[in-house]
Amino acid sequence: MATTVIETTPPHLKPFVPSPVPATVQTYGSSIWGWITTTDHKKIGTLYLFTALFFFLIGGIEAEIIRAQLGGPNRHLVSAETYNQIFTMHGTTMIFLAIMPLSAAFFNFVIPLQIGARDVAFPRLNAFSYWIYLLGGLFISIPILFGHAPNAGWFGYAPLTTKAYSPGVNVDFWVVGLQILGISSLAAGFNFITTIINLRSPGMSLMRMPVFTWMAFIVQFMIVLAFPVITVALFFLLMDRFFGTQFYEVASGGDPLLWQHLFWIFGHPEVYILVLPAFGLVSEVVPTFSKKPLFGYPVMVYSGILIGFLGFGVWAHHMFAVGMGPIADSVFGVTTMLIAIPTGVKIFNWIGTIAQGQFKATSASLFAVGLVCLFTIGGISGVMHSSPPADLQQTDSYFIVAHFHYVLFGGSIMGIFAGIYFYFPKMFGRIMDEKLGKAHFWLTFVAMNLTFFPMHFSGMLGMPRRIYTYDAGQGWDAFNQTSTWGAYLLFVASLIFMYNFFKSLKSGRPAGPNPWGAGTLEWTIPSPPPPYNFAALPNVTSRYPLWEGKQADIDSARINQQGGKSAEELGIVLPYNTVKPALSALFLVLMFSGLIVGHWLIFAGAAAMVLALYAWLTSPLEPEHH
């Protein structure tokens, strides 16, 4: 039971003293069944975090193999076939099994806390999303252990992915696996849209929401509008491969470009789905450690919305070499240039936030600044691709590989690490070791540049993408060697992080409600939060309740900071734990597996899933109460 000091002066306008810490750190409980049946967004967010970090490691190992193979000319560490599986799985794992779920970890954990809600709108659907992700991730990842991993690239262009040119099960696993994973994201999208629209605490208008929640909000709309398109693209491929339809069959008049258009109409919004959450995290971290509000909040929101819209209008910039014709090339070139504006404006606003502030370099803030620095480089190379004639040299070369690693690693991953250091105390009640965190940052920053900066050069010096080896004497050796060493260092950096993460879980310095002196609602409750989050739903009067709040905010904070009361004592009703979402997810995945295993399994899985869904839908979410 913690005693609290009642904060009357906003935390950041006083000398910074870490808030009082409780004697013991609450934990979530270790029963496995408890984790399988949980519907608590905080536990689900924790599950996403651990699972996603695991897949991040897998994707990282795949990257190390790629770099080891490419470290010198004409190497044969792995065969061409193996290499093709590795680079396919590296992209697929990092995008669908690492970055998106890492973002989901934050959506889950942070959004309800930031808007003053007890949980998401549909807690069981939330659990369902996680289990689909875990099972789908295993489904698509396990084949590599048997040498049957997907091997047609993460983008799977037809007709290479049709049965004629990929007769094995590799692409089957890819198509079915992605369909499964799409369901996870879609379900979560409906959940968070409803949550953010409908469960905001009294006084939390849309323009008072923290920017992370705003970015997440925009991302959910992009997900629910973009994922159906790849669902259709994959469905066509699935039908072609399993049931002999003609969608991508060249001999029947099928157009390979249909796949490309459908894929990239999804694929381009997807990359903004990957980076906007990181932007949101940075938008929380930078103001906190600058001790001043985010510079230009409305513009940050509007630019995010604009990116969401324009993101659906630029997709064919991935297709400048396919011969769409001068009009299409020009239109998409111009729209791509346009989208650079709202994206660039955010960079300036972050810099404007630090300006005139009192910037403190912590692990979290260093990673946030790292994103601003590295995403700028990725953004500049992105603008370079936006000119179609110039892109005819750049596309499908290592110049593109450099660009997207700067925006995805230098952008998404750096932002996610910032978020992990920032929210670790809130999630687990302990603070990660700062020394190790800074070592992690500096090694990552240096190694990241060592790995990916040379790729700008090897690309413009003629090195194509997706090649398992290259000849000597082409002028690429030094750059590749540097990249490989950088990648090895990145791996070491990741090990430092993993060590810090797990060590801090056990023995990190205990944190109170607000170790960083931040200003938003999630920092008004204990760390980790009690199951009900807020003892009393807060009344919100400003964007930074703890910094700029009025008396109502301060009163709410005072009530909510105190820990130690159970839900029953407070008269709060919590949802039941239930295994039905996990079971439904399992049967759904089994049903899809039937496409590869045998059609009987489709029916058996479907029947079981319908029963599980029926049981789910007809059972109450929580105990009756009025």
Binding site: F190, L199, V224, A226, V232, T245, G253, G254
Partner: protein, 218 residues
Amino acid sequence: MSTATVSHHYSSTGLDNRKIAIWAFIGSECMLFVSLISTYLIYKDRSVVGPYPHTPWTDPSTGHVYHAILNIPVTSASTFILLMSSLAMVLALSAVENKGKPQRNLGERILGNSKLWLFMTALLGLGFLGCQAYEFTSFVNEGLTIKTNLFGSTFFTLTGFHGAHVTAGVIWILSMLFIDIKRGLGPSDALNVDIMALYWHFVDVVWVAIFTLVYLIR
């Protein structure tokens, strides 16, 4: 549906969560059907072999003459049936919302009979599905399968997706009917019926688009 009673929880908009969720779902489904319809339109007139939707075709290798596959009169009838099912759904929702109000004459008793209108909605929906089944089997007999050509693949996939949505809707309506029979539906269930109705009307609107773009426009 969940047997939990009407939510008393605080909400920012005054709407129930499920109402917002169904609209988000419908928005997503729009993109799904837009992609399917766009593919159909892109591949229109690009099939290398017939049969074709609106024009006859002679197979050069067998000499067999295939007439235009689509049967506009029959499909117009099934479209009408589906539209009428939406009307029945409106009446069903109204009956549920107004359950308990006095019914003064036969007309009001008929209109207020939620079981009747739920049954009619499901029946008309099944009627539509029956027409689709008849249509598809006759196409297959006439030589158009999902594998035959681009038209077959796009047509059957598009209408198949739609039919699957109708089927899911019919199951949903029958479940609701079952609950109505078992314990009766009243104003407290209006939200659940409203959500179901929204879904059903959406499926109907999608069919109007498909019917226009696939059947009517050449």
